[in-house]
Symmetry: C2
Subunit: 340 residues, 2 copies
């Protein structure tokens, strides 16, 4: 039995989701981080906090700052620096979302109109830059240059991942390996850095820092795989996103890579037109969903995600705090089960 | 006699411009910074160095890293950290140029097609983010968290300034004071931070650090005022920019503020249509240039710039190195005389 299956069996959720329960474990720290987030996104230029609040207060799960706070707690930290880091990683994440939505011309984000639709591309780009800078100001205040390096490196890796993704659009020759490189860079890097920074700032030993990093890195990959599956599950409207965004952008994600590999002649012609050439007509999204479902590509994507969730949980073996360890294991399990 | 006038009288340029001469004073350091710039903009994702090189190697003056290196030299520094800071401030500058050109939909930059035209907006946004992150990675390597804070604060102020500028477009009620706030934020902040960081990293005393900062802050304002004047001088094609970019964007810069304040009834109707409403037809740019020239708005903008150049030079009184001091005074003088 895999760790994930074990977890699913042994831990039955109450009314709260595992993410809510992890929130509850670090509730005071998260409240402090939230106060700091709202304080530091302030500016005499009113458009900045208005636009930032649109995204910051849109009901995001605060997964990355949660990882920072949980890692610090899991290391037995009694200081205050992790709160600044938590606010900083949420700012980095928010900045990348603002820029991503411009790059992808997204219309919806977390069930609301995307900021680029409400205010236009220009303010979205600039407020992203503002929040990114504010993230570094917060990190500077910790005085911990090592931790700053962790987040700075993740930030440049994210940008690399986004450019890689841009270049693999329309390319049906994209391999699963290349796709995983993109996911690792554009999503898992900030998950990993968020947890690593939270652990490192406590002065914890290297193996503990690595454990939290490895957990979050694998969680990030699992999380993105599920996200990419949801874009073809036909239920993503419930997730507050536009239906079929990846398809319209002709992004070659794992569901497409797997479906294309298993496609018959007719399906290959479809993928070559709709994704390879990017020529789409009405009904194409439904047809894509059918092909993806029929070839088992969604099921297979979920299986891959479960593998990374298992890896995430396995990395936690060395964590001394059973409370944090169990809560993080539940989160990993929940992330791969969401949206079914 | 003002300091600037004095300088103009006493220092006659040879074949090299004052900026070239300042370059020559820190030539070895600048070569090291250039090597670092090219090394750190590298990536396995080839589009990143390709796009970055398009701008980095387009013949920019490297004014900001020059300020960093000159300030460190002026403090008698014998270490290596200033080279990393110089590369970092050039990366921050390059990132803001990439994002600005997307925001302004610019077509030309330094006499070449802008990156957003060659590669599109998406890679420009993402490579900007990449370079911005790389700037912080470089600063982390200095281990000097104080200096990191100087650049991080400047970066958020730049973004604030850009948003302020966006909001004052089309607004003929923009005051000169508000315009100076924008210029101070979007341009002078990074000039100031570049010099301040170069001085601070040497461990120089606070008054010396402040002197370099004040010099560069005032130089930055003078520089931007001249830039804004050049956009209506009818000679900006020589500067490698698109003619009348500010006008087409309906940016309310000082030449327009001054010309509008001195406008007769007919000219006011013109400005209200072309800038206030942003409704422009052929021949409008020439008409704007005529109004601006006829009201003396360009001459007045140059006079304001000369004032800030004087302030810049005055700040240098405390600098112990006469070589650096004189070279920086010449640069300030040159910046307000360029493009005549």
């Amino acid at each position: 039995m895999t760790i994930t299956a074990e977890v699913a069996q042994s831990r039955t959720g109450g009314g709260l989701s595992p993410i809510d329960r992890l929130h509850a474990l670090v509730a005071a720290d998260m409240e402090a981080a939230d106060r700091l987030i709202h304080e530091r996104m302030g500016s005499a230029v009113a458009l900045i906090p208005d636009l930032a609040a649109h995204l910051v207060d849109s009901g995001g799960k605060r997964l990355r700052p949660l990882l920072t706070l949980a890692a610090a707690r899991g290391c037995g930290y009694a200081g205050e620096k992790h709160v600044k880091l938590a606010a900083a990683v949420e700012f980095v994440h928010t900045a990348t979302l603002l820029h991503d939505d411009v790059v992808d011309a997204s219309t919806l984000r977390r069930g609301k109109l995307a900021a680029n639709i409400v205010w236009g591309n220009k303010p979205s780009i600039l407020v992203g830059d503002f929040l990114f800078s504010k993230a570094f100001e917060l990190m500077v205040e910790t005085g911990d240059v090592n931790v700053l390096g962790i987040i700075a490196r993740a930030s440049s890796v994210i940008a690399e991942g986004e450019v890689m993704q841009l270049k693999s659009a329309n390319n049906l020759a994209t391999t699963e390996e290349h796709y995983l490189q993109v996911v690792s860079a554009k999503t898992a890097a900030l998950f990993a850095a968020s947890a690593e920074a939270g652990a490192a700032v406590t002065g914890a030993n290297a193996s503990l820092v690595t454990a939290f990093r490895d957990y979050a890195h694998n969680l990030g990959i699992a999380f993105q795989l599920i996200d990419d599956a949801l874009d073809y599950s036909g239920r993503q409207a419930e997730m507050g996103k536009s239906v079929g965004d990846d398809f319209r952008e002709a992004k070659v994600t794992l569901p497409i890579i797997l479906a294309y590999a298993r496609a018959d002649e007719e399906a290959r012609r479809f993928w070559t037109r709709a994704i390879g050439a990017g020529t789409q007509t009405e009904g194409d999204l439904q047809r894509a969903i059918s092909y993806i479902q029929d070839t088992g590509a969604i099921r297979e994507t979920h299986r891959r995600a479960a593998h990374y969730a298992d890896m995430a949980c396995a990395a936690l073996r060395k964590i001394p705090s059973p409370e944090i360890r169990d809560a993080l294991i539940d989160v990993a399990e929940f992330c791969v089960s969401r949206g079914y």
